[in-house]
Structures are given as structure tokens and as C-alpha cells.
């Protein structure tokens, strides 16, 4: 790892201004992904701005929404009693990610910014358009068991590895950021992006903006929710596919529903068409299966990950079935 300068920011304003003009400066908080990437020489910043002292750790329950500070730890959110009560889907997704040690370190903002686990991205002697634009995509035609079935491009078939983000996308969260040009809000579903011809960009942050918090509007998804994570071992593994399912059911009728998938695209993949189909329907395995088939429209495999075309709809049905039977 290259040596670098490290400074501690005492306010979000000074954090932003201290990296704004430096090309090779980055924020660091939990460091669980950044330090790993620096060890692998995937990123090599000259300067790190330690933002852990900023007052961005609080979880607040406001009239119409829940606000979670960007520096709240993953475990802090997952185990917050009020979060478990009001947004159990988020708590479940967080608890499914990584290990408890990593959840104790990783922050909400950092979780959103974690990079793909694609091996070609991680290994600097391999081609990867995300790491080195125009160097080619190793995963296409290569080893791609973990890779995307939705929204990929000829440049990149990587997936975003987060569990938390799948739940936040489903819950219609909003991301609050602060940059050199001031503060702004980004819809969570628009925070991460599809690769297109510029897979080097994971998200829509501009000019070194700092994530300050995530807000979740109040909802009725407090009971019939499930986060299903399918992986190659029982714990401590990234999702091959995950499904966040939240249902608002009255008398067996679906009032409202949210569905999103992880491990299938360059961003958390919201299943809006399936959601629309399910609204107003009476719960049954048949309509779940029909919704799953709708959700899978446009999916394609790349060889090793073809099984996701079978696993995907099954996982959606399973998640909906478990959620609806709670």
C-alpha cells in the first residue's frame, strides 16, 4: 500500500473542502472496503480524510420519516430496536451482510459506496473496464458466477454487492449528500447506476460529495417482510441472489408491496412491474409466480451465472411466500 496523508475532519463542510481540489483524496470511515482495495492496489489515494469524528451517527425517528446518519454502523442500525420495529426489512438485510465484526466497523454511507466483488476488478493484472476504463471486461467470457443478469452492458457485468442497499431501494429511501456546491437529495433508486459505457462510475455522486444521511419515509411494511439471501455457504458470503420483499396485506389482499433484488445488477434492482402486478391481488403462490415471471423479463445469463435465471424467480416466490405467511 502506498503511503498517504491522513487528516481528521471535524465538520462535514471541512471534510468536503479538504478533498474537493485533490484528485487523489478520498473519505474514509469504517474502511472495511477501502483499506482492502488499497491493499490490493485497486485504489491508491494520496490523501485520506477521516470523517469518523463527524456528527453523522444518529438514528432519528421524525414525524414522517426515519433518518439514519451516514456514519451509523451497520450493526448499530441492524440492532436498533426501533428500526427492527419500523423497518424490519432493513434490519434483516443488514444482519445478512458480512460478519458481525465487519458490521461493527462498516457505516451506512460506506456500505452504499462499496465496490463490486468481481474478481477481475479486484485483480490488477486482469482486464476490467471499471478499474481501468477501456481495458476490457474479463468477466464476459470468463468466470461470472456472481455476475449480473439485468442491466449489464458490453463494458461491464459486475453487480453491486450490498444487502443493505437492496432493502433501502425497496423502501424508497432518499440519500442526502453535501458537496462543494452545497447539499442535495438523491432518490435511493437513482443513487447507484447501470454501467453503460462508463462502468468506472458506480453511482451518481458528483465531485466528491459526502453522504450525510439516508432517509426512509414511514411505511406499513412492519410485519410481512422478508430478506432472502441465497449464497454459496450459510453465512459470511456475498449474495448470489437476494430478494427484499415487503407486503402490506389486509384480509389476504395486497395493499402495497415492494420488491427488490440484489446480486443481479450493477445496482439494487427494484422490481416495479412485479410490484404493480401484485397490488390489489389476493395472495397465492400462483400470483407470486406470475409476478416473479414478470420480474425476470429481460434477464440474460453470461454462462456461469445462467442458473440465476432459474434461481431468480424461485427466490422471489420464496421471499414473497415467507413474507406473506408471517
Amino acid at each position: 500500500m502506498k503511503n498517504f496523508q491522513i487528516i481528521k475532519a471535524l465538520s462535514s463542510g471541512s471534510a468536503v473542502s479538504s478533498i474537493a481540489k485533490e484528485n487523489s483524496a478520498m473519505f474514509i470511515a469504517g474502511g472495511t472496503n477501502l483499506v482492502d482495495l488499497m491493499k490490493k492496489n485497486v485504489v491508491a489515494p494520496d490523501k485520506l480524510v477521516d470523517i469518523t469524528a463527524l456528527d453523522l451517527k444518529k438514528i432519528e425517528f421524525l414525524t414522517a420519516k426515519t433518518s439514519i446518519g451516514a456514519l451509523a454502523k451497520n450493526s448499530q442500525v441492524a440492532e436498533d430496536k426501533a428500526i427492527i420495529e419500523k423497518h424490519p426489512l432493513l434490519a434483516m438485510a443488514l444482519a445478512a451482510g458480512a460478519s458481525q465484526q465487519i458490521r461493527h466497523m462498516a457505516t451506512v454511507g460506506g456500505n452504499m459506496l462499496q465496490r463490486t466483488r468481481c474478481s477481475y476488478f479486484y485483480n490488477t493484472d486482469m482486464p476490467c473496464n471499471k478499474r481501468v476504463p477501456k481495458s476490457g471486461c474479463g468477466a464476459i467470457g470468463g468466470s461470472n458466477r456472481m455476475h449480473a443478469i439485468f442491466g449489464a452492458s458490453d463494458s461491464c457485468i459486475a453487480v453491486h454487492p450490498s444487502d443493505m442497499c437492496v432493502a433501502l431501494a425497496a423502501l424508497d429511501a432518499t440519500v442526502l449528500v453535501e458537496g462543494p456546491k452545497g447539499k442535495r437529495e438523491i432518490k435511493f433508486t437513482e443513487f447507484h447506476r447501470l454501467p453503460g459505457n462508463t462502468p468506472e462510475k458506480d453511482n451518481t455522486l458528483q465531485n466528491k460529495e459526502l453522504i450525510t444521511s439516508v432517509e426512509i419515509p414511514n411505511n406499513n411494511f412492519t410485519k410481512n417482510v422478508h430478506y432472502l439471501k441465497v449464497r454459496d455457504r450459510s453465512s459470511y458470503a456475498f449474495a448470489l441472489i437476494s430478494v427484499a420483499a415487503a407486503l402490506d396485506i389486509q384480509n389476504n389482499t395486497i395493499n402495497d408491496v415492494r420488491l427488490a433484488m440484489g446480486g443481479v445488477a450493477h445496482k439494487p434492482w427494484r422490481l416495479t412491474e412485479a410490484e404493480e402486478f401484485l397490488k390489489g391481488k389476493t395472495i397465492s403462490e400462483t400470483i407470486f409466480r406470475q409476478a416473479a415471471d414478470l420480474a425476470m423479463k429481460g434477464a440474460r445469463g453470461y454462462g456461469d451465472n445462467d442458473f440465476k435465471l432459474t434461481l431468480g424467480p424461485n427466490a422471489i416466490v420464496e421471499a414473497l411466500t415467507i413474507a406473506s405467511s408471517k
Binding site: 492496489n41 474478481s119 486482469m126 474479463g138 441465497v230 450459510s234 442458473f307 434461481l311
Partner: protein, 736 residues
């Protein structure tokens, strides 16, 4: 055995307090840090290597490559016939034989500066076409050029083809990697022409010979320290290029050099279980009597060494079949050389054999255990010898009862628990009981404590604890009074730890040396005035006191005896070799793993609801550590069965999942309910304790047990490991 049969690990305190010192942890004055830079191609030559930036980086003391290396004198020597080829000679020339082969070494004053400087080295290559895909290269198979590589035939070759019921299938296991938790590591230093290493090896004496050979010095001049090993599972059976590199660096700088591999390099530079394709042909009568068994294996090796293992061996003797053929072939690929990985070839072979037996039982509509009992081998037909002991049937019975085998149905998919499909499966394992000449020095200290010395080391099974138990039993001392000194050269010469032979070899040597020591003590006691006229045969020794069996009032304490004699009178160093009687018998351990799986076919999820591992390993010296070893072997087999596979991108000839996030090994949540059952009956032949060995057979048979249980649950037969979810996934049908 009695009071020592359940003692805690004698190195437990050191291990739970962090005071156990593993190789690279020895505090060494003036130590500097080294790492290896690997090639980024799989085959070819180094065209240029730019080391300038690294040399100029702060703290860098040396950058060594083939351009400036002082080649060890042994590099010029002839090939070593024992290795069936020539081990990779690090930095010898510009040739690249596999991906991540060390092409340079950076040495710097701090760990961080060394790591950074390594990133500054850039090489250009002249690439040559590589082959890393066994499936594509298998046509280039060849025999191993030793008698062990010969084909085996008993009765009519390939007679299975003539049977009433025939099963012919192909089974594949991928490359698996040992991956002990401790990274391969070494501290190397020189005093004049004599090197000292603190290194991760399973064989202190073997490492002395290897290093001595490479540097052209006698093994006696090489000091090797390896008291604690953070696991090894076979990867420590070889002296690897990283160890030689560290010695080269230490010699050049005349300073101690510490070199620790990265986890990524553990997948590319220190061996692995080789990718193996196996063809099984089984034939039986309609009643289920085996009439032919053919087992063929094609396994990978490196381009520079011929590696082979006992993949097909078990098929020659485990069942009662008059017509058996086995063939073993290797294919040279552009990778590092494989090395035995726990269970070694027998684990690979049992996956094919025990899966095929299950498949044939299914074809015959027989219970798989009934089928095996019908073909039970009353003697070893390969060697035409009686078994020294064989309690395999007890293993079957013990396992069937514990797993609830009676709930199993022959028809797949016919048992359910809630939404889960339930399946039961079993797999048989075996491993030879080997015993090699071993010396142990036993001595009493003035305080009455017993010291046992042997250069053998302990990668985890509890060798020191076993030595303590045997020493305490024979001398009648409490186990707290036994001091073990091991894991370094200069002590009585012990064997390499591997092949389940440690207890048989070292335990026997402890047994013999302690008996001789006790005789010596009784002899000295008999000469004292207290026992004047008492025959030595009447004397007993327990708890540090010699007494007369006939007259309890007469006693002499060991302490007083020692104070009135010379210290060397209380020392024995004896070499234990075994006896001719052993050659008349076939001596094997046996194991049977039983599993109950729960399967969700929609998600391909397999849960190991219950695992019962049974073994006939002769006498169990220590129930606690043996159970631990059996649990662990089963977990290793679960990794083999469900998740472990080194994935290669053959376009680049390099592994793609060479890290612990992508190469999955079992985690705690994977292991739901585990039980261990030992028959615990003494083998009358194997050695004085009656043990037969456990480490390897603890893993053998687990992977097929899982495959067979998955078949029983789902009707899906997976013949290529690991059984990942995509292989059993069912498209579910809408209940429309």
C-alpha cells in the same frame, strides 16, 4: 487407557493466551521483511523486469530476481528422484512455469515499505501458450514412471462389463486448496554457512534435508524450528520456493529475513489437491454381489514434477470382489505442483467409489449399507493378507442408529420435513496405518518430571498431548509432570507429520523409550539397600515412587534415587521401528460418515441437519482430541462436498477466486449438528498402543456421503464436486 484418556491439550494454555509462537512470530533482532512478486502470465519467459523503482523506494534493502540472484550451489545438482522431477528452483532463470511463480523478491526494513515497493516492480514477458484445463488436456495423459504408477489387475481385467447389472460413470473433483489459517511463513538467517529457519513445515528433518540439498550443505548444519503450526493439511510436506527465497535473501543481506505469503499466494504457490477425473465401472449380480470393479483416475500435475496419490488404491481392497482393475494417469499442466491434501487421494477416490456404490445399490434397489455388507471384505484381497483388525461393521451399526437410518427410504424424494426434502447418505473411508522409525528421548529431571523429546511437530491434532498421555501411562506419573520438547532440530529425530502415522510412529517411540526408562529406574532402585533381596520383577513405579509389590512398607522415591545417581542414568534415547509381525497383516483404519440433509430444491439450498462420523481407529488414546480431529475431518469433507473449488480462468491460466471471500470453506453456520463415534477396540498388531491412525480417514468418505444424501433427498446425482446450489436447482412450476 484410563486417567489420561480425556486430558486437555497440553498446549491449550499457550494457544488460548496467544503465547504459542508460530514460525514468523519469533522475535528476531534485526529482522527485515521480504515478499515475493509473482508472474502475471502462466507460461513463457521474462523479457524484462524493471526493479529500479522498487530499489529506490524508501527502506528497500534488496530486490532479488533471476538477474542478480546468487544461485544456491545445489541448483546445479542432478534431479531428485524422490520428487519424480525437479522442484521449482526459485529465481533460477527467466522461465515462467505457472501463474504467480515468484519472479522477484523485495526486502525492506519495514513491512509496509516492503509491501509498497513490491507494487513498483514491472515485468514484460514473452508469452507461450499455456494449458491449465484438465478437461481439455486429458488426452495427453501418461503413466507415472514408477512402479506405483503401474496398472493393477486382479482376476479378469474390466470384468464389470460382463455383469448382469452394470454401472459406468465419470466423477470429477476440482482443484482444492489446503488453506490453513496460518499463512505460509518463514524467518531465515545464516551464521556463516549454517542456516537457521523458523518455518511452516510438517517435517523438521525433511526440511533440513531439502534445504541442505539446495544449498549444498549437510542436513546437520541446518537448524529448523517449527514448534507450532497453524494447520497445514499437507501443504507443509514440501519445502517450497518461498522458503528457499527467504534463505537466499538472508544470505545476501546477512540479516534475518521474514517472509509471509499473502493469502492469494497460498492458492498458487504451495500446492493443492489436484483436479481429478475418475471413471468407475462396477458390475454385480442381480442379487448384489460385486463381480467387477474398475477405477481409473486422470489427475493433473505440474510441468516440472510428476505428482501422484492413492486415488484408486481403496478400490483394490475395500470390497470383496475377485475382479478389480485400477489405472492412474497424470497430465502435465502449467501450474504449481500439487501436494497431498488431507485425506489425500483416498478422499478423491472415495468420492468416486462410494458414489458409484450408492448408484449401483440404487440400481439394484438395495439399501446401500446392505449392499456394502453383502460385499464385505473378510480379508485384504489386494495383499492377500488378513486384516490386523477391522470393525467396519461396528461403524455401520453405530452410524445407522445415531443418524436414524431406519427413517431412510430407498426411493429418492420420499421423505419430507415441512417444506424440506430429507435425504440420508453414507460414505466409507479408509486409510493405511503407517509407522516410520522414530526416536524419542525420555528422561527424568531432578524434580521428578518426565521430559520427552522428539523433533516431530504438531500441526493441530494434538501430538504433544498424545505423547504426554502415553508417557504418563507408562511411567505412572500425573500428566502434569510430563514435559514435551518438540518441533525443532537437535532433538531425537522424529518423523514428518502426515499420513495419519504420527501416533503410531511417535507414540510407539514414547512407549518404548518410557518402558526402557522405567526398567532403568527399577534397576537402579533394585540396587538400593531398601530393596536388597527384592527381585526387580516385584518392583512397581507410580507417582514418582518405586515400591515393592510384596512389601508396601518398602519404598524409594524417584527424587532420592536421582540425587544419589548420575543424571545420565535417567535418560533413554531409543528408536522404535516396528516388527516383522506387522508385515503379515493388512493394517487399515476405517471410517463411515453418515449425513442427513435437508434440501430446498427451489433455492438449491442444502442443510446438513445431522452429521455422524464413525471410525475404527484401534485404541483411542485421547477421546477429546480424537473427537476434535474427527469433527474437523468431517468439516473438511463438508467443504469438499459442498463448496470448495479453485476456479481457473483458462484464458489467462490463473485462479480467479484465490482469496477467502471467493474460495468458500465451511463457516460455523454451516455445521448444524455433529456427532462422533469411535469403536475404540485395540488393534493387536499395529503398534504397542493398538492405534491405527485418524487424521486422514476422518475426511475420507464425507463428500460421497453428502452426494448420496442429496440424491436420496432429490433424485439428483451430482458427480462433479462441489455440490453447489446451481447443480440441484429445480425450476419450480406455478401451481396454476
Amino acid at each position: 487407557m484410563s486417567k489420561t484418556s480425556n486430558i486437555n491439550r497440553v498446549d491449550g494454555f499457550a494457544k488460548v493466551t496467544g503465547s504459542a509462537t508460530y514460525s514468523a512470530e519469533y522475535k528476531t533482532d534485526g529482522v527485515v521483511y521480504a515478499c515475493l512478486v509473482g508472474s502475471t502470465i502462466a507460461k513463457g519467459r521474462i523479457k524484462t523486469i524493471d526493479t529500479k523503482k522498487a530499489e529506490w523506494a524508501p527502506g528497500v534493502l534488496a530486490v532479488i530476481s533471476h538477474l542478480n540472484v546468487d544461485k544456491p550451489s545445489g541448483y546445479e545438482k542432478a534431479k531428485d528422484p524422490h520428487n519424480f522431477g525437479q522442484p521449482l528452483q526459485v529465481f533460477k532463470d527467466d522461465t515462467v512455469l505457472y501463474y504467480d511463480q515468484p519472479i522477484a523478491m523485495v526486502i525492506a526494513d519495514t513491512f509496509e515499505r516492503m509491501q509498497y515497493a513490491a507494487t513498483l516492480i514491472k515485468a514484460e514477458y514473452i508469452k507461450e501458450e499455456h494449458i491449465t484445463d484438465l478437461q481439455k488436456a486429458k488426452v495427453k495423459e501418461k503413466k507415472v514412471e514408477t512402479d506405483k504408477g503401474d496398472d493393477y489387475h486382479r482376476g479378469v481385467p474390466d470384468n464389470y462389463k460382463n455383469a448382469a447389472v452394470v454401472l459406468e460413470e465419470e466423477y470429477t473433483i476440482p482443484t482444492e486448496v489446503h488453506n490453513p489459517m496460518e499463512l505460509a511463513n518463514i524467518i531465515a538467517k545464516w551464521e556463516g554457512n549454517k542456516p537457521t529457519v523458523f518455518t511452516k513445515t510438517q517435517g523438521v528433518e525433511g526440511t533440513r534435508k531439502s534445504i541442505g540439498g539446495v544449498f549444498g550443505i549437510p542436513p546437520e548444519d541446518v537448524s529448523v524450528n517449527s514448534e507450532y503450526l497453524g494447520g497445514a493439511f499437507g501443504m507443509g510436506l514440501h519445502t517450497w520456493p518461498y522458503e528457499i527465497a527467504a534463505l537466499i535473501g538472508a544470505k545476501k543481506l546477512n540479516r534475518p529475513v521474514k517472509l509471509v505469503l499473502h493469502r492469494e499466494q497460498m492458492f498458487t504457490n504451495v500446492g493443492f489437491r489436484p483436479y481429478t477425473i475418475q471413471k468407475m465401472g462396477l458390475g454385480a449380480t442381480k442379487e448384489g454381489k460385486l463381480t467387477g470393479l474398475t477405477h481409473e483416475a486422470v489427475a493433473m500435475t505440474s510441468s516440472y514434477e510428476d505428482f501422484m496419490e492413492g486415488t484408486v488404491n481403496m478400490s483394490r481392497f475395500i470390497y470383496n470382489c475377485d475382479n478389480v482393475s485400477t489405472r492412474y494417469r497424470i497430465v502435465k499442466l502449467d501450474t504449481c505442483t500439487p501436494i497431498w491434501m488431507r485425506g489425500p487421494g483416498e478422499a478423491t477416490g472415495s468420492f468416486a467409489l462410494e458414489s458409484a456404490m450408492d448408484e449401483l445399490a440404487h440400481k439394484l434397489d438395495m439399501d446401500p449399507i446392505e449392499f456394502r455388507k453383502l460385499n464385505y471384505a473378510e480379508k485384504d484381497l489386494e495383499q492377500n493378507k488378513p486384516w490386523s483388525s477391522k470393525y467396519l461393521l461396528d461403524c455401520y451399526e453405530g452410524g445407522m442408529e445415531r443418524i436414524g437410518w431406519k427413517n431412510r427410504k430407498n426411493k429418492p424424494g420420499s421423505v419430507k420435513e415441512g417444506e424440506w426434502l430429507v435425504g440420508y447418505g453414507m460414505g466409507t473411508g479408509t486409510f493405511g496405518c503407517y509407522r516410520s522409525p522414530t526416536s524419542v528421548k525420555a528422561k527424568f529431571l531432578a524434580d521428578g518430571n518426565l521430559v520427552l523429546q522428539c523433533s516431530v511437530n504438531d500441526m493441530g491434532p494434538g501430538t504433544a498431548t498424545m505423547m504426554t498421555a502415553i508417557g504418563a501411562e507408562i511411567t505412572g506419573l500425573p500428566s502434569e509432570n510430563v514435559i514435551i520438547q518438540m518441533g525443532r532440530s537437535g532433538l531425537a529425530k522424529g518423523p514428518t507429520q502426515g499420513g495419519s502415522a504420527t501416533t503410531s510412529s511417535v507414540g510407539s517411540a514414547v512407549h518404548d523409550s518410557c518402558n526402557l526408562l522405567v526398567s532403568k529406574v527399577l534397576g537402579l532402585a533394585g540396587a538400593t539397600s531398601t530393596f536388597k533381596g527384592t527381585p526387580i520383577t516385584d518392583l512397581t513405579f507410580a507417582n514418582g515412587v518405586i515400591s515393592s509389590a510384596k512389601d508396601a512398607s518398602k519404598t524409594v522415591s524417584l527424587a532420592s534415587l536421582i540425587s544419589s545417581n548420575k543424571p545420565e542414568d535417567f535418560e533413554v534415547e531409543n528408536t522404535s521401528k516396528g516388527n516383522e509381525e506387522m508385515k503379515k497383516y493388512s493394517i487399515y483404519s476405517f471410517s463411515v460418515h453418515f449425513v442427513k440433509v435437508l434440501v430446498n430444491p427451489n433455492l438449491g439450498k442444502i442443510r446438513l441437519a445431522h452429521v455422524v462420523s464413525c471410525a475404527d481407529i484401534g485404541t483411542v488414546i485421547n477421546q477429546k482430541t480424537s473427537a476434535g480431529q474427527m469433527y474437523g475431518g468431517a468439516v473438511g469433507g463438508i467443504g469438499m462436498g459442498l463448496m470448495e473449488a479453485l476456479e481457473i480462468d483458462h484464458r489467462f491460466g490463473r485462479p480467479i477466486n484465490n482469496n477467502f471471500a471467493d474460495y468458500h470453506v465451511p463457516v460455523n453456520a454451516d455445521i448444524e449438528k455433529q456427532e462422533v463415534f469411535f469403536v475404540n477396540k485395540k488393534d493387536p498388531i499395529s503398534n504397542p498402543m493398538g492405534t491405527k491412525g485418524l487424521g486422514e480417514t476422518a475426511l475420507v468418505g464425507m463428500a460421497p456421503a453428502i452426494a448420496n444424501a442429496v440424491f436420496n433427498a432429490t433424485g439428483k446425482r451430482v458427480r462433479d464436486l462441489p455440490i453447489t446450489l446451481d447443480k440441484i436447482l429445480e425450476p419450480s412450476v406455478a401451481n396454476a
